[in-house]
Amino acid sequence: MTIDMTETNNAEKAIPAVSAVEISGLNKWFDEFHVLKDIELSVSEKEIIVICGPSGSGKSTFIRCINHLETYQEGTISIFGQPLDNPKTAQGIIRDNVGMLFQSFNLFPHLTIIKNCTLGPIWLRRIPEAKAIEQSMALLDRVGIADLAEKFPGQISGGQQQRVAIARSLAMEPRIMLFDEPTSALDPEMIKEVLDVMVDLAESGMTMMCVTHEMQFAHEVADRVIFMTDGEIVEMGPPEQVLKNPKWDRTQQFLQHVLSHKS
């Protein structure tokens, strides 16, 4: 894996325009059901993409494909120019480059917060335990919950759990972060604390792809907003354009629903 990494790094220096995520002709079926239809997308490094759309539109499936949690039948996905065709190498490419957050946090309930964070560094990156703990404590401090390090996930609030999940992902030093509705399972007061951390991440130059219904976040942080429905990318552009002047009636309709609900 280390060899692959250096190769990409060199390639990047030579051609700075290599995109962080390159998706072409992506098609996926669940049995007969066509979930993703001809998805084309190129995300450059440090770009913030927000994906929105009605439920069942395939946006979660789409983002899970990028992390190789779902298989797909057609098309290619490349991370920093390395295609994920081979399942054997895909796992390594993902591990070295991509982190992911889930709606239900998915912390490991049998491990303390700090052990949740150091598990990856210790077992996969072979970092000595003391150093891994030090790094993870710094990350927990960054997301504002260093004092909870010895607690178990069941003992802290949802917002805190999601921030731990962010720290756990960051401990693997990813260059791309994927978010699958990270605030959907949270109370209003907790949504903000998680969004603050995400804004902070965005400002630090992380490449982010985020499935969310937080239109305020999309408006303030996103470079591009994607609207998906029925497995297709219908609309894509700067937040001003997609959120204020959508081209399609379906987008307009969806936005009205989301905005009226929020206010």
């Binding site: 949690l69 993902i94 490991f108 990856g120 077992w123 003992q155 999940a165 693997m172």
Partner: protein, 447 residues
């Protein structure tokens, strides 16, 4: 005017009320009795009915087992003349030694005690909090201890390999206790004390190297000390009683979990051949009575092994019981695996953990924790089921108990030995159940 508006817009500062300790309600013993046993007419009636029933059931048993019982007599006839309605414990007491050790020679029974003593001593450090690397101790125990115990139980000329492993096991045990002492005084294991001297030679591997060197040293020492000692040979035919029961069930309880985990993972695997094999094994073994498996192990298993291999009955039975217990355990473990939400797999994958790491670091610790009651239930029933080996002629505690009734002095003494071994089984099984509940409580506090 200005003052009034500021007073109106200024918000009250919220200060939470101070906590109060919870109210403790106590009525004393009389109050408790009134509340729980005699609260109301029907409740009182029920209490009285239950106690009457208990009295009617327990009284005759106590009369038989304690009040009218005979504790010392030369034979059953004497018992009958002294007290025809009482239990004749004299027979059980006379045979007690055989119930525990089977037909193991009286003078050599200290070897059985020594063997099990070593096992207990080996397991004790696992309860220590400050000792690290318990998995290693456990695995070493599972691998080495059977050889050590077999060496002591069997005796006789055991060959160089067995002697070497025996000494290796003893060396590990000695090193374990040196480590326990050092960890509690210096906070370091013996191998950690020496590894800095070895660092120039072995570099990063110095910790492993110093461990191996120390082990080798103690092993050679053991080899030297015990070189002339030869224990008298006791054939497996003479093993029996509780001793044999504990060997068979101990072995199969230890092996059931690993076998079960492997079969359960195999059954959930995406590799078809592995999955078919696991399903076939589990379903085949589960749908056949244990007695059949035991009979087949004795009559059919030799067909599958080369003629030169000397399989004894005990080994065959242990293999059969292990496979049987493993198949049942597999379904228990599979139930545990299914209770783990899919999100845990997603999270483990997204960190980059591979299949085995995901299973052993994330999924199995949670699944097994959720399954402790079921696993211990399997263990307990396995422990009791091993009495079935008496049917194929192994003199386990069950067959020893039934043998008492055909002894010419104690002819027809059926109930007393069975009651006695029931008490023994209860002690063991209740112990296991209590231990599992303690384990559950301990693991639950960390949630």
């Amino acid at each position: 005017m200005d003052e009034q508006t500021t007073a109106k817009t200024e918000l009250l500062k919220f200060v939470p009320k101070p906590d109060r300790p919870p109210i403790v309600i106590s009525h004393g013993i009389a109050g408790w009795l009134k509340k729980h046993l005699f609260g109301g007419f029907w409740n009182t009636l029920l209490t009285i009915a239950v106690f009457t029933l208990l009295y009617l059931l327990i009284k005759p048993f106590l009369d038989w087992a304690v009040i009218n019982a005979v504790w010392s007599a030369a034979n059953r006839r004497e018992c009958m003349t002294v007290s025809p309605d009482g239990a004749c414990w004299a027979g059980v007491i006379r045979w007690f030694n055989n119930l525990i050790y089977g037909r193991y020679p009286d003078l050599l029974q200290w070897r059985v005690n020594l063997g099990f003593g070593i096992g207990i001593i080996w397991a004790l450090p696992l309860a220590l909090k400050r000792l690290k690397g318990k998995l290693q101790i456990g695995v070493a125990g599972v691998v080495l201890y059977p050889f050590v115990a077999a060496y002591i139980f069997l005796g006789g000329e055991r060959g160089d390999f067995h002697y070497l492993v025996f000494c290796l096991g003893l060396a590990y045990l000695i090193l374990l206790y040196i480590d326990v002492a050092l960890v509690h005084t210096r906070g370091k294991k013996l191998s950690q004390v020496f590894d800095r001297y070895l660092e120039p030679i072995f570099g990063k591997r110095s910790a492993v190297a110093s461990f191996i060197l120390i082990m080798a040293l103690i092993t050679v020492l053991c080899l030297y000390i015990f070189r002339g000692v030869e224990l008298e040979y006791v054939s497996i035919e003479f093993w029996g009683g509780l001793f044999l029961t504990v060997i068979i069930s101990g072995f199969s309880i230890t092996m059931a979990l690993p076998i079960g985990i492997m079969l359960a993972l195999g059954r959930r695997s995406t590799m078809p051949v592995l999955r078919w094999f696991s399903i076939a094994t589990i379903e085949l073994v589960r749908s056949v009575p244990m007695i059949t498996v035991l009979f087949m192990s004795v009559t059919m298993m030799p067909l599958f092994f080369p003629n030169t291999m000397d399989l004894n009955k005990l080994a065959q039975v242990i293999i059969a019981v292990c496979v049987f217990a493993g198949a049942y355990m597999a379904e228990t473990v599979r139930g545990g695996l299914q209770s783990i939400p899919k999100g845990q797999f997603d999270a483990a994958m997204s960190i980059g953990l591979g299949y085995w790491q995901t299973m052993f670091l994330i999924i199995l610790p949670q699944a097994l924790r959720a399954m402790i009651p079921n696993i211990v239930t399997s263990f307990i029933s396995l422990f009791k089921d091993t009495t079935l080996v008496s049917i194929i002629g192994l003199f386990d505690i069950m067959l020893m108990a039934r043998n008492i009734s055909i002894d010419k002095n104690w002819f027809g003494l059926h109930s007393e030995p069975l009651v006695a071994i029931s008490v023994l089984f209860f002690v063991f099984c209740y112990g296991m159940s209590q231990y599992s509940q303690r384990l559950e409580r301990k693991l639950n506090t960390s949630r």
